[in-house]
């Protein structure tokens, strides 16, 4: 379903993603983890056809992300980390625009907008009466998630999708993505919130400095690293040792 072959991205002399090889079968919910600046979002941007790799290639559902760019975009949904939207539109107008760009029929768009509005508890006053610039971060994120799912994509890329969502919406969202995976959707979940990945993803890939340092189920990673929780595994693999000691020393030096 998703295939990365030696996928590399360089920014001048800096290598953001260094030869990643990965295969994600259909219906898998994969957690793509890494510390800040590890290359997670860059990988996703290359997979969604938004950015050209420096070398290597990627495929989504058999389509090359560069040569068959539009075909890839038709079958994927993407929640960007930035949560960017056209802020002068209302939530409803934005979702209608996205539906039309994916070529959905008007009736279907309206049905789905209503469904997402109900699911995320966005009333008509909010959805149709307010510009997105007036939404809170969480409300805006609900619209971004709705926009990524409105065309019922086969593959979904989530880049920090829980940003700004309240606890109950987070719970609803986690249940939703598990169900989507159970229905056969392939989900590529990028995050550094380890707790969520540990609970929802069946396979975990850890990337550091643009290179995959671990790939497997939680049990396999535990066996590989000899650590218990995903947090401990992550810290060990990404070389962030003695974090507690460093934090204590820092607070002492500041006189907190």
């Amino acid at each position: 379903m998703i295939k990365l072959e030696n996928l590399t991205k360089d920014y001048g002399t800096h290598r953001a993603v260094g030869g990643v090889n990965l295969e994600v079968p259909s219906g898998q919910l994969i957690g793509y983890l890494g510390p800040n600046g590890a290359g997670k979002s860059t990988t996703v941007k290359m997979l969604t056809g938004m950015m050209a790799p420096t070398s290597g290639r990627a495929e989504v559902c058999g389509f090359d992300t560069m040569r068959e760019n539009i075909e890839v975009k038709r079958i994927i949904g993407y929640v960007p980390e930035s949560g960017a939207v056209y802020e002068t539109l209302t939530g409803r107008e934005y979702l209608e625009m996205v539906g039309r760009l994916y070529g959905l029929k008007e009736k279907l768009i309206q049905e789905r907008v209503e469904k997402f509005g109900d699911f995320f508890e966005l009333g008509e006053d909010t959805l149709g009466g307010m510009q997105l610039s007036a939404y809170s971060k969480g409300m805006k994120q609900k619209i971004v998630i709705s926009a990524a799912l409105i065309h019922n994509p086969r593959v979904i890329f989530f880049d920090e999708p829980l940003n700004g969502l309240d606890a109950s919406t987070q719970l609803m969202f986690k249940t939703l993505i598990k169900n989507l995976a159970a229905e056969g959707k392939t989900i590529f979940y990028c995050s550094h919130v380890l707790d969520v990945v540990e609970r929802t993803c069946e396979r975990i890939v850890i990337i550091d400095h643009g290179v995959v340092v671990a790939d497997g189920t939680l049990v396999e990673l535990q066996a590989l690293s000899g650590e218990g929780s995903l947090e401990q595994i992550f810290n060990k693999l990404t070389s962030h040792l003695n974090v507690e000691e460093r934090a204590e020393e820092f607070s002492r030096s500041f006189g907190f």
């Binding site: 920014y11 941007k45 050209a52 960017a84 002068t88 539109l89 039309r100 760009l101 070529g103």
Partner: protein
């Protein structure tokens, strides 16, 4: 119209339903009133961007004035068209250039739409049409009254009021397509490392080209005995507004081989440019935008990091000067923030730098006047120096807007005691980044024109003295927080129009006095001494009366430009 255009567009590879959707979105963004609520009862505010309405009003008024002036001078209809269409081309092209950074090179948009199945041609055409809509608002506003007044021009007729708006539309399409094609060519020619800076500086070059075409070329032709607005001559084939004036002449029944050639040039040029923009330039647009958004930013960050390391390796004279000039920490922080955006942020550079090139035009206008020794020639040359404080004002106004406007909340969180500390940092940054380099350029221009360094320096001293007071003007009535407003189409242009009009009257009076003194109506030293004495007094008075000593009050909304509901 839609069904008529659908098939040709689809043959060009444009997805028409997507085009209509995107264009609708862009037009809503441009013309809709900004605010949290759209509905008043059940009525939606369709057009509400006050800045666009204001600009439209300004151009309607300008068109009325120019139209009346031309008609009362009993000018021939060809000259009348050339004058009006030259101005139309000038203002529409400059608007397109100024707005293109927020439309063509909008890098924040790629996260919204970059992953959706929209092909390059559809996206580029939607953006081009939204730019065209804006240029049409300006072009048609300006030509509203002249289209009627032109009926009374010599050799004109009733048909004029029908054909002139059409030629105004064609000129707007020509100017928009020319700007789009120019950018497209640049996108292809520039490597990804140089693309960012090339695009930035190309805007300045394009601005200068249009200014040169509109202001300098007619004077150059006049100085060489060739008039742009009298009889129809061969050299009009080199001047695009004359092509469309030729089209008007053909329709009015004054066809001749040269008139038909002009009309043919106009029709061919607009068709060829529009075709090139859609068919050729749009190819690879998304990829170029992606490069611009992701690659160059990180490249630049690395360069800045290296530069930063270099600067901090030794205590430079620049640091010492900074400490001397910026004594308060808040002032220093604002100065550093603003100068960083001036030098690194593409959006700021694209919006600020082209507007700075305006001031060069005035001395050139004077230098290319028919009588270089005449009073008007001297006036225009001296006006160049008077425009420099206006450049600073323009920069300050442009720096109010930024794509990262929510970050301006930092000024309200931090314990800033006085607004004056923020204002002062912003003023000093604008002065150092724009005013001082501009004075340097003017000094060289004056030296070239008057062949004397001493004369050049003496001519500039009064303007150097008056600049701090003029830069104080935006802070006189309101608090100005740098980079704190979301950019809205036309808003910057509208604010600059107001400033330009007000300043032009005040500065024009001062330049008149300086011209009189320079031409020995009264001793020049009186003018210099008076300006040097009066300027600091007026600066201190302005500072005392302004809001400088007040604290920063809490904003009415959580962000400076948006009411936001907190979750």
């Amino acid at each position: 119209m839609y069904s008529l255009m659908r098939k040709p567009l689809e043959r060009l590879g444009v997805d028409t339903p997507q085009l209509v959707t995107l264009l609708g979105v862009y037009l809503k963004q441009d013309f809709r009133r900004q605010g949290s609520t759209l509905r008043f009862g059940k009525t939606e505010a369709v057009i509400g961007n006050k800045a666009v309405l204001f600009l439209s009003g300004v151009y309607i008024f300008m068109g009325l004035v120019i139209g009346i002036a031309d008609v009362t001078m009993q000018i021939d209809v060809f000259g009348y068209c050339v004058i009006l269409l030259s101005f139309t081309m000038f203002v529409t092209a400059l608007s397109v250039i100024a707005e293109s950074s927020n439309v063509i090179f909008n890098d924040t948009e790629i996260d919204v739409i970059g992953h959706m199945p929209v092909n390059d041609r559809t996206l580029f055409l939607a953006k081009g049409l939204s730019l065209l809509a804006f240029s049409l608002v300006i072009g048609l506003s300006f030509n509203l009254f002249p289209s009627v007044l032109g009926i009374w021009a010599v050799r004109s007729g009733l048909l004029f009021c029908i054909i002139h708006p059409i030629t105004a539309v064609l000129v707007s399409v020509f100017a928009t397509s020319l700007a789009l094609v120019s950018y497209g060519v640049l996108m292809r020619l520039a490597g990804k490392e140089r693309f960012d800076s090339i695009v930035t500086y190309s805007q300045i070059v394009l601005t200068l080209i249009f200014m040169f075409g509109y202001q300098i070329m007619p004077r150059l032709l006049g100085a060489t005995g060739l008039s742009i607005s009298s009889d129809i001559r061969w050299f009009h084939l080199l001047y695009p507004p004359a092509w469309y004036a030729g089209l008007t002449m053909s329709v009015l029944g004054h066809a001749s081989p040269i008139v038909l050639a002009l009309a043919a040039c106009g029709l061919f040029a607009v068709t060829a440019l529009a075709y090139a923009a859609v068919r050729k330039v749009s190819t690879g647009y998304s990829a170029s935008l992606s490069k611009l958004t992701y690659d160059s930013t990180k490249e630049r960050t690395n360069q800045n990091k290296r530069r930063h390391e270099g600067i901090h390796s030794e205590r430079s004279i620049v640091t010492l000067l900074k400490n001397l000039l910026l004594r308060k920490p808040v002032e220093r922080a604002v100065f550093s923030l603003v100068t960083a955006y001036f030098t690194r942020n593409r959006e700021i550079k694209i919006r600020v730098y082209p507007t700075l090139s305006y001031f060069i035009v005035f001395p050139l206008m004077g230098a290319f006047s028919e009588k270089l020794n005449g009073a008007m020639s001297t006036f225009w040359i001296l006006m160049g120096a008077a425009m420099v404080p206006l450049v600073g004002l323009t920069a300050i106004e442009a720096l109010a807007f930024c794509e990262h406007y929510p970050a301006a909340h930092i000024f309200r969180i931090t314990p800033v005691a006085h607004l004056g500390e923020i204002h002062s940092g912003l003023r000093k940054a604008a002065a150092i980044c724009t005013v001082l380099p501009c004075f340097g350029i003017i000094l060289i221009l004056f030296w070239v024109v008057f062949h004397s360094w001493i004369t050049a320096v003496l001519l500039i001293i009064p303007w150097l003295a008056v600049t701090p007071t003029i830069l104080m003007l935006p802070f006189f009535f309101k608090e100005v927080i740098p980079l704190a407003k979301r950019y809205r189409k036309g808003e910057q242009s509208a604010r600059i129009q107001v400033l330009a009009l007000l300043s032009f009257i005040i500065l024009g009076t001062l330049v008149g006095l300086q011209t009189a003194a320079f031409r020995s109506t009264f001793p020049y030293w009186i003018f210099v001494v008076t300006s040097v004495i009066v300027s600091p007094i007026s600066y201190l008075a302005a500072r005392g009366l302004s809001r400088e000593s007040r604290p920063l009050i809490p904003s009415e909304s959580s962000l400076d430009s948006d009411a936001q509901i907190q979750g």
